[in-house]
């Protein structure tokens, strides 16, 4: 048996599951988005759902919110990952403990962090109560709106909590492989600390984290549970909006829900293709 065949056979159960669940599910959704729902006697296919979607102001509100949250979470993740990685590179007392705490969030599911954030930061949450009890605020509603807020701060916060250590680890490993020599050389050529960071470290780090930033962005764009728990009812991010339409008692809303899901899937696929291209360019060069 050829090696390739063996591998294919060994992987076949996994492939089967992926194909049925993923491709199958996608096709099912795609057909429904075209209005094909034999259960309620709908056999005609049309682009009505898409037309509705692209003329719906609710959709664009959700799209912008989703883009904002994804972009903000990704950019802040990059910034804080670089800052924390640079800090973790220093030798200091208690470094091991800090390092452990730093990486700890990676092991915790998003959902748990989201629930935790809700319990801690909402206006009826623990911090609001403590502040109220301490007399710092005279009413719990004075506590700043950190979850269920307009800008999705609570949602972004949860993504940061999870993504910063993850990307930070990548930055740390990049820094390790780069070593100190480039920085030292730049210093001896006359660059101060800031210039060394700006003209030497940053250009060495960024190509390495760009692909993973795209993945971060794509993940945040499509993910559901955190905004579902911590977001305002309106406007909601795309995935939540799609879910609401899907849940709607009116089955006529189903195609539009599916159209949104397809939109998200296509958008993410484009990002993934972009990611692949980028990876190829980066690895192809070295």
């Amino acid at each position: 048996m050829s090696k390739r065949l063996t591998i294919t056979l060994l992987l076949s159960p996994a492939i089967l599951i992926i194909v049925t669940l993923f491709i199958g599910g996608f096709l099912f959704g795609l057909f429904q988005s075209f209005g094909y729902m034999p259960i309620i006697g709908q056999h005609d296919m049309s682009l009505d759902a898409y037309r509705n979607m692209f003329t719906d102001t609710k959709f664009f509100g959700s799209l912008f919110l989703t883009l904002w949250i994804s972009l903000a979470a990704t950019i802040l993740t990059i910034i804080f990952a670089i800052i924390t990685a640079l800090a973790m590179r220093q030798t200091f007392k208690g470094r091991r403990i800090i390092n452990f705490l730093y990486q700890f969030p990676i092991t915790i599911p998003h959902l748990v962090i989201a629930v935790g954030a809700m319990l801690l930061f909402s206006q009826s949450g623990m911090f609001a109560r403590i502040f109220y009890a301490l007399g710092i605020i005279s009413d719990q509603s004075q506590f700043p709106i950190l979850v269920y807020d307009n800008l999705g701060i609570g949602i972004i916060y949860v993504y940061l909590w999870k993504q910063i250590p993850f990307m930070g680890l990548i930055v740390i490993s990049i820094l390790q492989s780069v070593g100190n020599d480039y920085e030292e050389l730049a210093r001896s050529l006359g660059a101060n600390r800031w210039q060394t960071f700006r003209y030497v470290l940053l250009p060495l780090i960024v190509p390495g984290i760009l692909p993973i930033s795209i993945i971060c962005f794509a993940y945040t764009f499509g993910s559901f549970e955190v905004p579902y728990l911590l977001g305002k009812p309106f406007p909601a991010v795309l995935s939540v909006l799609a879910y609401r339409l899907f849940e709607d008692v009116d089955l006529n809303a189903r195609p539009e829900a599916m159209a949104m899901a397809v939109f998200i899937a296509v958008f993410i696929s484009i990002l993934v293709i972009f990611y692949k291209k980028l990876i190829k360019r980066i690895t192809g060069r070295t």
């Binding site: 030798t91 030292e184 210093r187 001896s188 050529l189 006359g190 660059a191 030497v200 250009p203 060069r285």
Partner: protein, 346 residues
């Protein structure tokens, strides 16, 4: 023109139990080219980085023109490093690489362009402006690295084994270029190497380090003719040692007495050292002795004999045209010219 003085320099790295550099004092004249020589791990790079301000000094002082620079940040020292592995910034063009130091000093763009051009012609790589480092050979990369260092007109040039990654003929070429540039710029240069031949070919003076400590500092000739210890002599390829007892101008050894020149070495136990090429083969006159030839190796321009002298294995270098009397296994006579004998205190 800048002179460099190191005063009792010491470096203990964080978490290290032993210092990497111990009590190092060294005076380097303005415009001099000094080779920092020694085996791997002896602290050469560490010393260089302390001069450049890239590593902190644990104790002691670094002085430029008599001014203490210990607390001056590296970017203000104008002591530029060039590394063994070039370290060209991979994402920059050659032009940007060379102009880096000037850009950091906010020099006008036009001026940078002009000086980059000058530097490129200095290292004979005209027209390379828009290339990327990945498109260059090792030798070309090192020339760019040198240009990048020189463009800021540094006070001190710190070269850390710049020739080690190059193959033999490129190394010769690059060495000549470094010498030429050093002559025309007159920049005080410290050149790190573990290769004594390279040090001899390049340096005005050599500082030989073992294990974090300076063992000898002087001209290349001094290392051949007047090594301060057996270890130094051996590092320079000479292990022709013979133990003896010195009384006045005579050293008594197991193979006979040798007349030596007057020296500061006190009477008592000493070691005689003599270069392989200073020994006269076939001479039965003054200061001569008989010894068996173990091996004879024809080297083209000379012949090397491995000779057993007392309990020691010696090398003797003789004429390439040997005769039968110096065949392997034979006893031959050798003499040690009095003025060529170097005496070490035990």
């Amino acid at each position: 023109m800048t002179d460099v003085k190191l005063r009792n320099l010491e470096k203990v790295y964080d978490g290290a139990s032993e210092p990497s550099v111990k009590n190092l004092s060294l005076d380097i004249n303005a415009g001099e080219l000094v080779a920092l020589l020694g085996p791997s791990g002896c602290g050469k790079t560490t010393t260089l980085k302390m001069v450049g301000g890239l590593h902190d000094v644990t104790s002691g002082e670094v002085l430029f023109n008599g001014v203490r620079v210990n607390d001056i940040r590296p970017e203000k020292r104008e002591a530029v490093m060039v590394y063994q592995n070039y370290l060209l910034f991979p994402y920059m063009t050659i032009e940007d690489n060379i102009g880096f130091g000037l850009k950091m000093r906010h020099v006008d763009k036009k001026e940078i362009k002009k000086r980059v051009g000058e530097m490129l012609s200095l290292v004979r790589l005209e027209g390379f402006e828009t290339r990327k480092p990945a498109q260059l050979s090792g030798g070309q990369k090192q020339r760019i690295a040198l240009a990048r260092a020189l463009i800021i007109r540094p006070k001190i040039l710190l070269l850390d084994e710049p020739l080690s990654n190059l193959d033999a003929h490129l190394r010769d070429e690059m060495r000549e270029m470094i010498l030429k540039i050093h002559k025309s710029f007159g920049v005080t240069t410290i050149f790190v190497t573990h290769d004594q031949e390279e040090a001899v070919l390049l340096a005005d003076r050599i500082a030989l380090m073992f294990n974090g400590e300076l063992h000898q500092y002087g001209s290349p000739q001094e290392f051949y003719e007047k090594p301060v210890s057996k270890k130094v002599a051996a590092f320079f390829g000479n292990e022709n040692f013979l133990a003896g007892v010195k009384t006045g101008a005579t050293v008594k050894t197991e193979i006979g007495d040798f007349d030596v020149e007057k020296s500061d070495v006190p009477d008592g136990k000493v070691t005689i050292v003599i270069r392989p090429e200073s020994i006269v083969l076939g001479d039965t006159g003054h200061n001569s002795f008989q010894a068996p030839i173990n091996r004879r190796i024809y080297m083209g321009t000379y012949t090397r004999y491995d000779v057993r002298v007392g309990g020691n294995a010696w090398n003797v270098i003789g004429d390439p045209n040997y005769t039968e009397e110096y065949d392997e296994g034979r006893n031959a006579s050798f003499s040690l010219p009095k003025e060529k004998i170097w005496i070490l205190e035990e």
